[in-house]
Assembly symmetry: C2
Homo-oligomer: 177 residues x 2
């Protein structure tokens, strides 16, 4: 029996990085884990980056995903905030590629379209759909839900392979199950 | 005999990341290595970050520095360029902290003041001083010279420890030898 596809989704942030892990079993999604990586406020940059990469490394070690998806970040008007967000995102991608994980990128628009069905969805709608699709008993924290939403987007879009494999019917960003 | 202090200096960039390694032997600096890490133009982000982290990882594996210093980057007016530079810098710091290296940050102003003696120095002056201080037979490429300059800055500023140790006489950012 082949190993199921296990996706690690990351929603990067300079203060909080959300993550979510799902399995695709047949054509069903199963929740595996989710959570938030929080950096220490006012810690120096190397310390904050250390927290992000070490936690992502532990998550990979523990759950052994075979695919990774990361949200493309909003380009802020504040250059310092943009730089900080870029550094956090670069560190997260570094942790993924150092473990040999293929990394796929999705915009916030793609995530909302895939999970909610329309690009202007509110954060609460994303959380709501994540709870529904993964049959969760509680609502995960917003950043953790975003991590799960990115992982679901990667699954819903055919793991970036649908076009090549031609075996998955995709319409409007959702599988037709 | 204790191991000499070996500093890896990094000048991060979205296209080219310069690096330089120096040893402090007694109160002398010795050149160890320097070079440039070039990402593949138009490669996807994960590929470019992969090149940066894997090369830094190899450099650490090969030369085994025990200190790291990285230049603080210029906050660009172009948000996309700032984000990209942030991602490259975050990836470089991630590679350093994952190897357990203490990372110190220096602004371009601090580097120029430490190496040339004044903050408004041109790039060529930095290269010239790096060649002089390390008694090099040729001039390293600009990004490699910047990597060496960051490493020298860390040494000249007492490895970020001078204030605590109180054992090094520093004036105007330079050791008094």
């Amino acid at each position: 029996m082949s190993r199921p596809v296990r996706v690690l989704g990351i929603d990067p942030g300079s203060r909080t990085t959300g993550f979510g892990i799902i399995d695709l079993v047949g054509r069903e999604y199963q929740y595996v884990a989710s959570g938030c990586i929080r950096t220490i406020p006012n810690d120096e940059l190397a310390g904050r980056i250390g927290v992000i990469v070490q936690h992502i490394d532990e998550i990979i070690e523990t759950y052994r995903p075979n695919q990774a998806a990361i949200e493309q970040v909003f380009v802020n008007v504040n250059p310092k905030a943009t730089l900080m967000l870029g550094q956090a995102r670069g560190a997260a991608i570094a942790a993924l590629v150092l473990r040999g994980l293929p990394v796929h990128e999705y915009t916030a628009l793609q995530v909302k379209q895939a999970v909610v069905g329309q690009g202007k969805a509110a954060k609460e709608q994303v959380q709501h759909m994540v709870v529904n699709m993964l049959k969760l008993s509680g609502t995960p924290q917003a950043d953790a839900a975003d991590g799960l939403a990115v992982a679901l987007t990667h699954a819903l879009r055919g793991y970036g392979l649908a076009g090549r494999l031609g075996g998955l019917a995709i319409k409007g960003g959702r599988f037709q199950i």
